[in-house]
Amino acid sequence: MLTYILKRFGQAIPTLLIVITVSFFLMRLAPGGPFDGERQLPPEIEANLMAAYHLDEPLWSQYLRYMGGLLQGDFGPSFKYKDFSVTDLIMQGFPVSLELGAWAIVLALAIGLPLGIIAALKRNSTVDYVVMGIALGGIAVPNFVIAPIMALVFGVMLAWLPAGGWNGGAWANMVLPVIALSIQQIAAIARLTRASMIEVLGSQYIRTARAKGLSEWEVILHHALRPSLLPVISYLGPAIAGIITGSIVIEQIFGLPGIGRYFVQGALNRDYTLVMGVVVFYGVLIVLLNLIVDLLYSVLDPQIRYDD
């Protein structure tokens, strides 16, 4: 087990290096410098600026400097928000994005799992068709369509909840964004749970459990549930990545001060260091969370042995 963990760590490191290296060199390939476009600066000032941001050094030394900074949690200065470092901006936005994302994952599991299980148990009934129809809708209709419509209906027309804003993380302000963020994952988890539950319920040992006279509840709780959750656990990695990606749009739509909004602002303003900082930050986060999900899976699935 320990060797497996170490091996997976060993695999995550080159991935992280690729993310960081590709982002770095892509950014440096960009046509034009970061100080173009505003006013035409006198050459001396531009030279000073370039020196202040170490842009006059050779590329490899800039790369090493950036990597060295990353190891200390320093993403470099933002080119547009002159008074802030990229680390400051990320750390300002992260609590908001984290709170949003965590609730979205919890909601996705809390609704998706039961829906999938019910649909599987009532297979080919009206309940099943309704649940799967809604789930298909949740997968087919993107969150940037659902979110504005939800804001329009519940925020503007009915005025039940605020249509946007963060308000210090007030409960009412979070309801719509969290739901909008989790709908796609609720749908995916429900479909996945249903499919794997149906497969498990058709297997031999479930027939044996029924044959020895266990009640339907005991069969489901003690025998069917755990194995049918395994595919859902391995889906958690992509689900988290999906929620992080989705949060970019959702934060934009509801005007929430999370990382996603800085990211889009940075992307539109060509604030290269900020964009790159967010890519690296979320890249590292996704790779690490994937690692954790993999390890969790290996703990929960008794069929997998990682001894060799």
Binding site: I18, L136, A140, V141, F144, L152, I248, V279
Partner: protein, 302 residues
């Protein structure tokens, strides 16, 4: 090599399946698909939608960028010939939505084709040669898989500007990974079969065995995966355009229109609803069609 030892694409597509005499897999799949009402309905809607998007703008009195100075943000009406209303700049929403549909369709076709070519060749080569080449190539795919791709695509768009050709290439380059895995699995299973051995014994070159014998035989799952890739690609493009990182003026796309509509939704909800409905219907139908095709082509459901 003569043509007659080629397993034709349409004739014997999936060799693992056992078919009734004279019933090719393609015909069989078509029969099964025709019985699936949701999939057939979706197919018809998609064809109609594509035709309307292509021909519709020619029949309407307004152009993509024409400004109607008398109708700014006017609701849908027949009298003004703005059947779905106008936007804040007095441009006809129906025409813009149909042009947006053309962009979505073209992205879907080109980006899917890019991912198809890369994925199929990559997967087929890895599967055919096997051994160290295979493990090296698939290791690369594994690493690519764990990259946060959405962010890399956004980075690409930021760095190289918002060029539609780049959107095609970037999305296609993102979506080939699954395809490569599927094709590799198929080819691994196929390459031990007699017809490949026979071709090798006849001295056929490796490149020809891969392109003429292995890829055509692995086509069933590929078709299914392509229909599932198309909605993903359309979604990705609208996502980028929604953020303002995709298609740029004067061109438009459903993502751009939804984003514009969102800003006006309190005073002019039709600007949000129209492109949303077009996008949602398209994605719905593509998903139904993909599910239907999977059921029709999957030997397990037989």
């Amino acid at each position: 090599m003569s043509q007659d030892n080629l397993p034709g694409v349409a004739k014997s597509v999936a060799p693992q399946t056992f078919l009734g005499a004279g019933d090719s897999l393609a015909m069989d799949a078509w029969h099964r698909l025709r019985q699936n009402k949701a999939a057939m309905g979706s197919l018809i809607i998609l064809v109609v939608l594509a035709i309307v998007c292509l021909i519709g703008p020619l029949l309407l009195p307004w152009g993509l960028a024409d400004v109607d100075w008398e109708n700014f943000m006017s609701p849908p009406s027949f009298e003004s010939t703005h059947y779905l209303g106008t936007d804040a700049n007095g441009r006809d929403l129906l025409v813009r939505t149909l042009y947006g549909g053309q962009i979505s369709l073209s992205v879907a076709l080109v980006a899917t084709a890019v991912s198809l070519v890369i994925g199929v060749l990559y997967g087929a080569i890895a599967g055919y040669f096997g051994g160290r080449i295979d493990s090296l190539m698939m290791r690369f795919v594994d690493i690519m898989f764990s990259l946060p791709f959405m962010f890399m695509v956004i980075l690409l768009m930021v760095v190289f500007g918002r060029n539609i050709l780049l959107i095609y290439a970037a999305i296609g380059a993102v979506e080939w990974l699954d395809m490569a895995r599927i094709v590799r699995g198929q080819v691994l299973a196929l390459k031990r079969r007699e017809f490949v051995e026979a071709a090798q014994a006849l001295g056929v070159k490796d490149s020809k065995i891969v392109t003429r014998h292995l890829i055509p035989n692995a086509i069933g799952p590929v078709i299914v995966y392509v229909t599932l890739t198309v909605p993903k690609v359309i979604l990705l493009e609208s996502f980028l355009s929604f953020l303002g990182l995709g298609v740029q003026e004067p061109l438009t796309s459903w993502g751009v229109l939804i984003s514009e509509g969102r800003e006006m939704m309190e005073s002019a909800p039709w600007l949000l609803i129209t492109p949303s409905v077009f996008l949602a219907v398209t994605l719905f139908c593509l998903n139904f069609l993909g599910d239907g095709l999977r059921d029709a082509l999957d030997p397990k459901t037989r």
